[in-house]
Symmetry: D2
Amino acid sequence: MTPNATQNSTNPLRVTVWNENRHEQTHPEVQKIYPDGIHNVIAKYLREQGSTVRTATFDEPEHGLTEEVLDQTDVLTWWGHMLHNDVQDQVVDRVQKYVLNGMGLIVLHSGHESKIFKRLMGTTCDLRWREAAETERLWVSDPGHPIVEGIGDYIELAEEEMYGEPFYIPTPDALVFISWFKGGEVFRSGCCYHRGRGKIFYFRPGHETYPTYYNPQVMRVIANGVQWAAPTTGATLSPERHRKVPLETIPAKK
Amino acid sequence: MTPNATQNSTNPLRVTVWNENRHEQTHPEVQKIYPDGIHNVIAKYLREQGSTVRTATFDEPEHGLTEEVLDQTDVLTWWGHMLHNDVQDQVVDRVQKYVLNGMGLIVLHSGHESKIFKRLMGTTCDLRWREAAETERLWVSDPGHPIVEGIGDYIELAEEEMYGEPFYIPTPDALVFISWFKGGEVFRSGCCYHRGRGKIFYFRPGHETYPTYYNPQVMRVIANGVQWAAPTTGATLSPERHRKVPLETIPAKK
Amino acid sequence: MTPNATQNSTNPLRVTVWNENRHEQTHPEVQKIYPDGIHNVIAKYLREQGSTVRTATFDEPEHGLTEEVLDQTDVLTWWGHMLHNDVQDQVVDRVQKYVLNGMGLIVLHSGHESKIFKRLMGTTCDLRWREAAETERLWVSDPGHPIVEGIGDYIELAEEEMYGEPFYIPTPDALVFISWFKGGEVFRSGCCYHRGRGKIFYFRPGHETYPTYYNPQVMRVIANGVQWAAPTTGATLSPERHRKVPLETIPAKK
Amino acid sequence: MTPNATQNSTNPLRVTVWNENRHEQTHPEVQKIYPDGIHNVIAKYLREQGSTVRTATFDEPEHGLTEEVLDQTDVLTWWGHMLHNDVQDQVVDRVQKYVLNGMGLIVLHSGHESKIFKRLMGTTCDLRWREAAETERLWVSDPGHPIVEGIGDYIELAEEEMYGEPFYIPTPDALVFISWFKGGEVFRSGCCYHRGRGKIFYFRPGHETYPTYYNPQVMRVIANGVQWAAPTTGATLSPERHRKVPLETIPAKK
């Protein structure tokens, strides 16, 4: 890592919305809800909020995440599910490097099992799940956090997939949402991390068979997350790792 | 704090079970469930598990928590509700000092608003609540933690008081249980902290109008918590705070 | 705590610089370095950086920290030493309440033993120390944190008081500086905390007998800390703590 | 991860001491200090403390870390340097799986750049360094932690390699040592983590050209670390990830 290759956020923020974009092509039920893909719904909202947004998908060369694209990205959002194992390791390496150098990362829903999230967490990121179109309530557990600005006591989604504890992640630096599910489970559904110079936000909702990304409160949280995860400037460190020092301060070797 | 006045745990552990013991005298409904007081139910279980247990209650001189008693206590458990504000500040100061020197503290249910818990947390420890005899499920969120040994996926209590987020506490060092309530709320119901040389475990269930402390799984968690919070030996530090150093290593004052 | 009484930061930020201001009146050596008091040196710098700054000192009624003043304060900075125990408890209660509702707090140097810092931490905040005019190097340990913006690998101070580990604090949410002292000690000298809706930053340097608050890098960190600790908006919660819920969702009491 | 495949610690603990064992064969200076390899010095000490110890080295098939070996390992210690990149990915995957299922891991000195440590941390684990045979003092920063039992204010090593901040790791769950170096640097040199069901302890000292692993205090810390990292039993979870629930509790899909 070049310590000073920090990405500084610009104004407006430059966001890249990544989507696997496979369910939308193969599942008629999903196609109906997201005819232009989940990425375009998210991108549209973030553009309306003032960000400069591009999209990238699995099928593009290098999954659309070239160095050139990442050099122009302040925050990357990630939605994937079916093709996690087919994402190229070289691209995962690259995204990890950019995050550790300061690029923000928003991991959505089934992205919990993506290579990039597991890579940054170091754990399995495993969980329990059930598809039963059941009610989810995301309770605000950290009311002063900027990611919950504009939200009330909770967000209620009439129908979502259930994710249940235990969620095999490192303890989050901040836990901003805890979900309640009608069927009887709970889940840490809004988790913030600092890794290297970068910030990572995992946000649970967004199963492809429900219109979750049209919910204005869900989108408000994603937009807040993008703002929160934007690169900060930080310190300007000297590049050398092998540190020299005036020799007189060091005792002679015996 | 005398750095070496660390309390070392003995074998068997010496536990003091503290109870306000007022509901049991004034509320017939509570009297019926806990005729000898909540403290005696907890004490009986811990004795059966092999600990040396004494009890102490609000009405005793110095609330039964004299220096002599605390000197012989490895872990203190705390249940209070009606009389939080009447607990003497001098006793709170004393308990805090012992905890920071290594004595374990298990805070139960409405003890979240006790002076001692708020003192050690530094926050309001406020929360939402509702008494509606509703089902609570305490999900294990940290399956490898010793406090959940012997527990399955969750503990289910048919009827309990509800506590809901946000719970105004510092981020726990470990979060071992998250509760689901039938009425729609969630709560961080098993929270571990390290403060000074001491360990603190907050455990939510135990409203006085329900027979929660007869539930073997709840009691197993309390017993596990006592083991987890037992004093450890740690380092043997020099007592002086004003640190001297060979003068030749310090540059002359300009 | 009224959940929605959150203080939102204004632009420019409104800062109150609090100083005990006693050494400056009683110690000629200190008077020479800070003839108008430490508070006026800090206030001048923050004004130059664009904040709206007022000062408050121990000798003013209510130590200058009335509700009216705190209502107009986004971030409070605190320097104290000789008179910690004489600060009125009622004022400490009030400052704590404002911090937990969102007001930022920057605790400087010997403020580690102030009532307000110990209150918010829950621990003794004790440490080792030595006055020997020795060199301190504050190393950046979290290079991406906004508090170290504009700083290089470290800040070097030719002469300072030494503070040494162990520092009896809760584990910081972020540790941004670790100090090296010529005489052989180390210290966690830049510690960030979230408590309630508020943010707290402890910053070590600033002994009254050295011109530390004229060091531009030290002042840059304090100014960065003020920006970091500024109130955020967060969620808009309903005020009621006793939570009602449609009764049909709750099972009848047996 | 099979949730119940938890490794439970036996008594005595079964420790596998892993060593790259290459410097000892190629550098006469190292050969002189560790003629039988670093692993055998560590193994000897741990045996004397009562553990059942085996060793494993890079050159063995599968680096000596077969499933059979790991099945019989409560805690694994890791020393490597020259051959980090040559460690087989399949073995790294395996060790990670065992750690997340409960096996303890002690990472020593230059092991900070091993594949397994970087895998579990998710960051670069990069740092600054200098070889100048300079004095290191490891200060106890968490005096109540069991890993520092038997240690005083600090451990002093007359000659060691320097490691300096920033150390690019996630914030440790507990920080038990902070190092001071004669040449002017500081370092977080004792770092504890919980990941999945496993515990990880990084301990800095141990450059191959110094007799650090003959220092009784260094060895005491390693032995304490082994005890601390031993597997715990935890909860007994149901194996299924796809969670069924009585259908009547779930609302019909619209």
